[in-house]
Symmetry: C2
Subunit: 516 residues, 2 copies
């Protein structure tokens, strides 16, 4: 019997054909009721990290009189990986883990109290939609490590999603793509697929051109997860004016556009391009800092202090970024690749995006630099005990997607070091064979020769040198990957007999000189 | 008889040995008088673009009771290129051309009214100094066009300047280096040279270590020239605490540190590094935009509109820069080279600064892209009449240093086009054989097949399409190098029969479609 297993271990059986038939009746009944209440029907396609919370935000939106604008059906597939989300959401629980307390409020509120949110596996739901919001996950595949120019985008699942939409929606339904897509996708993939299905259905696409809009999300995991959707700026566009107008009305109802004004661009190419440029800008500015970090280390300079000094100058250098263990997460690691692939494949351009791609390569391999720092002190790492503090890709979140700690872990494993890893938020590490992550930092630190401060979780910033040395049982080698230690703490470590090095922190050599 | 010729043609004879002797007496008398008035003696070394105005700003500084803090001697060399500045300053005239009206006020005010500023050629002046501010020009030499990794820094003139200082100053004199120097210069060049000269003079350098500080300027030509020195943030440092303390007191007296707080870094390496990083950050962010401009052009997107849309998001993308004809001026074109050269030469590092250097290469050759745009319409440029609007490197200033218009001019000349150039502010073009620059735009535009909007001077932004076409005598091909034309104007040009293209402006193709 096929089942889908939730992260907490609960098992959910796939629906039976009978349940399928019942669900269609349910969908019709609910949607009719909701229309009578004056609500439009929104289907959110994809109940992942963005889609599920977007669905809740749409379901939560109300007019000035407290009446919900929309009833939302969240749709996901009957698959081992995804199906569990549907019963979980329908029980009023969030299908995502989050540090934001609003996550555990908004789902029960919309599902149980307002009754404006429900999840379904049944594709029939698209027939009932006034608006479909596309939140299908779309990955960049990088087949050669450190060579992002060979990266590509597999659009087949996305294309299937569009075909499902085209087969089912009414010609008046707005399709709003929220997924970060390669520039050109709405015009060159979404539109032709939907048009093809419309033609099969004898819909006159001259009279009823598909209504397709694009508005990219800027979701950030962490304590402001919900807010990063609702209270944040949006750019949008449509393949024609009517699509853009409908998207404008929808976003206006759902988001706080008064405090976070939206911006209408004149083509979907433009807004798709904006998203990938936005993240390529950040990726490039992080990559740039690695070479300056290396120089700072060699010439006795504290790069972080230099950056702070430059930022006193207002307006021109505020976006300077910082070097670290590396770059993780889901956006900066892939968006330049989507853009480069679009240039090559969707537009057949000879010139692509060399700086952006080079930056991805630098960022993907940045952890090697921390390994180099370690090897400056211990050229042979065999049987050295190394404690890695932090495995998520961002401070104070549990998200491990593309975390640079993984490359650090792998590199040190290859050198036959003995590793222990700690994270206060991560239970198991999906990208490293679902390894259990230690929760007791004293266990992780025990007998460590080397302690790597990999992530800026608050509890690591609060650690006192005395505690660390006590837990290690000796003065160990402390590695600071991104300015997590103050000079005062570094001085204390040095005085207590530790060796210290930090990415971009060349001034530690100077601190050693004035230690006494 | 050796003479020095000012830009306006006035000729100045070099001083005679008798004048030399008299000048020493003058310097002594003036300095003694000024000391009696409670003023410290400042010598500014180098009366160039930064030094002359810095000298005036220091001479202009007053305490709360309106008493000047300092008397300033501006020093420059007896050479054909420089000597004229001395009599010019002493007559109360500024030795620099500037759009800032304050320039033509501050020199007569300090020289004639306050009598706190005087220029001299005589090196004896260093013997009288309490503070020497070093503003010697220091260039990066790029021997291979488009290959900045071969660039280097010739420190010989700078070294001579330091030797002059070391031979003459009192051991208590502060030497404040304001010149943008390769990181490491204060520690590895200035300090050893002065120490060497101190030793020759039997000064005990253990007891009297040279007092050397570094504080880089951020001067911008244009209407806020003086303000960009006085009312702007400063970072500083010293080779020892006493030097840094003295620099702090000096900067506090001279600059508006209340509204523009300064920042003390813990080593001269750090503040030297900060300056070159600051400009490398900008250079890299401009270079990044060229590849996105090219993609935007091919996929029908207006990059400038996309950038505007992204910047609505506050705090994370405010420093995104824009593509243009290219990058000129004196900082972004050389500072990454100084940094890279320092890494190689002063610190013997294996790894240098590849992204920063690659960015310089992209920026130095950016004008080629405008040539490509022109050749998309006119693959053969022989005998084509091309009007270039603007030869300075920055809008609304007359400064032509490293202007990208020069590469455009050279590239089009090589293709045997017939060129005319206009600039409202530049009289002659020093970098192009002192060519006279046309002032009457109608003369420049006459019979032009192609009009290149190269620089964003206000008068070009104000030009109406009808005027341009009338002056050309026909609808010509309009090239917009950096979003100088609004969509409304582009539409007008198109409707009047012109062809239009712009760097990063792919949406023009779309405007053509909806022209009717």
């Amino acid at each position: 019997m096929p089942i889908s297993v939730a992260p907490d271990g609960r098992e959910f059986r796939f629906p039976t054909p009978e349940q399928d038939r019942e669900e269609i009746q349910n969908l019709k009944t609910i949607s009719n009721e909701q229309r009578r209440l004056g609500r439009e029907i929104v289907v959110v396609q994809g109940m992942g990290f963005v889609g599920s919370v977007m669905a809740a935000v749409v379901a939560d939106a109300e007019d000035g009189n407290g009446n919900p604008y929309y009833f939302v059906h969240g749709h996901d597939l009957v698959s081992r990986r995804s199906y569990w989300k549907i019963p979980v959401i329908n029980s009023g629980e969030p299908p995502v883990h989050a540090e934001d307390p609003e996550i555990s409020r908004i789902f029960p509120r919309c599902v149980k109290e307002k009754k404006t949110l429900r999840a379904t596996w049944n594709k029939y739901v698209y027939k009932l939609a006034d608006i479909v919001v596309v939140d299908i996950q779309l990955d960049a595949i990088k087949p050669v490590f450190g060579n992002a120019s060979t990266g590509y985008c597999d659009l087949s699942a996305f294309r299937r999603g569009m075909r499902t939409i085209g087969k089912n929606i009414s010609p008046e339904c707005l399709v709003l793509v929220e997924t970060t897509v390669p520039p050109g996708t709405c015009e060159k993939v979404v539109k032709p697929v939907i048009e093809e299905e419309f033609k099969k259905r004898k819909i006159n696409i001259k009279k009823n051109p598909p209504l397709i809009a694009h508005s990219y999300e800027r979701v950030m995991p962490g304590v402001k997860y919900v807010s990063s959707i609702r209270n944040f700026w949006r750019t949008f566009s449509g393949v024609n004016n009517k699509s853009a107008d409908l998207a404008e009305e929808f976003l206006n109802n759902v988001l706080d556009t008064e405090n976070y004004p939206f911006y209408r661009l004149d083509s979907t190419n433009a807004s798709e391009f904006a998203k990938v440029l936005e993240n390529s800008y950040r990726a490039t500015n992080i990559a740039l800092m690695l070479e300056w970090a290396k120089m700072a280390e060699k010439i006795g300079v504290n790069l972080f202090e230099v950056i702070k000094s430059i930022k006193v100058r207002k307006g021109t250098h505020d976006n300077m970024l910082k070097p670290s263990l590396g770059v993780g997460g889901y956006c900066l690691t892939k968006d330049p690749v989507l853009a480069n692939w679009a240039a090559e494949t969707l537009f057949n351009l000879d010139e692509t995006l060399p700086i952006a791609i080079h930056s991805v390569n630098i960022n993907d391999t940045m952890s090697f630099h921390t390994v180099e720092l370690i090897e400056e002190i211990f050229p042979r790492l065999v049987d050295k005990r190394i404690a890695i503090l932090g495995v998520s890709y961002l401070k104070d979140v549990a998200d491990t997607r593309h975390s640079p700690s993984k490359l650090l872990w792998e590199s040190l494993m290859e050198k036959d070091a003995i590793l222990s890893v700690h994270d206060p938020l991560v239970e198991t590490w999906p990208e490293v064979g679902n390894m259990k992550v230690e929760k007791d930092i004293n266990v992780t630190l025990q007998d460590a020769d080397i302690v790597v401060f990999a992530v800026g979780h608050k509890i690591y910033l609060d650690l006192e040198p005395e505690e660390v040395i006590k837990a290690c049982g000796k003065p160990s080698f402390i590695v600071d990957c991104s300015n997590f230690l103050t000079d005062e703490k570094i001085m204390k470590y040095l005085k207590l007999g530790c060796e210290v090095k930090g990415v971009g922190k060349g001034h530690v050599e100077y601190l050693k000189e004035i230690r006494e």
